[in-house]
Symmetry: C2
Subunit: 190 residues, 2 copies
DNA sequence: TCTAAAGTGGGACTCAGTACCAGAATGTAC
DNA sequence: GTACATTCTGGTACTGAGTCCCACTTTAGA
């Protein structure tokens, strides 16, 4: 069983995140306090921080889950596929589909561009992704001396840099360019 | 003239940074308040924040300057040199020399490993480096359509990912491995 | 229906970072 | 050296994020 309480918790989290995002989009991230989000969501400040460890996580909370999915997607690639190709394909699986709500994604990207604290938190989570991907990359490079060999980490990080660059280009094109092509373009330059 | 006041300011900054680093190393970054640093440095909390925009900058303040130097080093490479090679050589210029105080560098690395706020701030500054390097990379790739072409940004970011991986491997080896070789190793895997 | 576990709001607290002010120090022009 | 304008300084007060604790309520599940 999935646990009924867990589902409830997840639902509340999602709703609060929605309310928060609306407020942020309207007034700007820094202009909205945790108190205001809590009030708008019909809960106390205390409870708000029970659902989100930081204010930034209202917007970026889903990145944890995405990181795990991405790692799973990489692990699911054929064992004999090279690390770089496998990473590219994993990216396709996770970010290649046309988004259901591109406008929202664009608004979020803009918000992140002019909100330092959001950018910072985003980078932290990306680094987590790198930590998750590195072991699987090491396996595909047949490198066992993980901690003192820079290569697995370098490859994982480079791939994520490509993903970021693609995402930024997508944003700068106002969502007109195709994400798959951008990823391919970015990753094939190396 | 360099401005006498500027030199004084710089000197104070350096001294406070030294005092701060000592305190951090002894008690841990999070356990030392801005008040305590200010007191130990013989100044008021207010003045402390005049010298450092954030507590993290006591430790990471020099990264701004390093980013500019790195960019300059890249720009100084021969115009016909490829982007990747030029980046590698620029890294050598900046980080290839054997450090004057490896122990301090190791302590700092350890500190950053178990202090999230420091890691976050460090990532922010690295992103600044990426922003600085990207135009020069674009020039070397002969790409003019900067904003919507992911490649320059991808190359700059990937190179920095390699640098980071090299640095981490260096730390994990307790400073025994050679930074130049690690950089070469990381960058040649792509 | 009972109960142990989980969720809740409120209040108090720490600390980073900002704004403002009045006074002290100092470089420069005369 | 004197005068002046600029800069530096400490103090006080403030906002807002995040933590801790406590007493109370809700609720899943047996």
């Amino acid at each position: 069983m999935t646990g009924l309480r867990d589902r409830a918790r997840r639902a509340v989290r999602a709703e609060v995140a929605g309310v928060g995002f609306t407020l942020f989009a309207e007034h700007g991230f820094d202009q909205v306090t945790a108190d205001q989000i809590a009030a708008a969501a019909g809960m106390s400040r205390t409870s708000f921080f029970r659902y989100f460890p930081t204010k930034e996580d209202v917007v970026l909370g889903h990145l944890e889950e995405m990181g795990e999915q991405l790692t799973a997607a990489l692990a699911a690639r054929p064992a004999d596929e090279g690390a770089w190709v496998a990473l590219e394909q994993a990216f396709f699986d996770q970010f290649g589909e046309t988004l259901e709500d591109p406008d929202r994604a664009l608004r979020l990207a803009r918000m992140m561009q002019d909100t330092p604290s959001l950018r910072a938190r985003h980078l932290e989570k990306q680094q987590n992704w790198q930590d998750l991907l590195t072991p699987e990359v090491a396996r595909r490079l047949r490198i066992t001396d993980t901690p003192t060999d820079p290569r697995p980490r370098a490859v994982a990080g480079a791939a994520l840099a490509c993903l970021d660059a693609a995402n930024q280009a997508w944003t700068n094109s106002n969502g007109t360019k195709d994400m798959r092509e951008l990823i391919t373009q970015a990753m094939s330059v190396l």
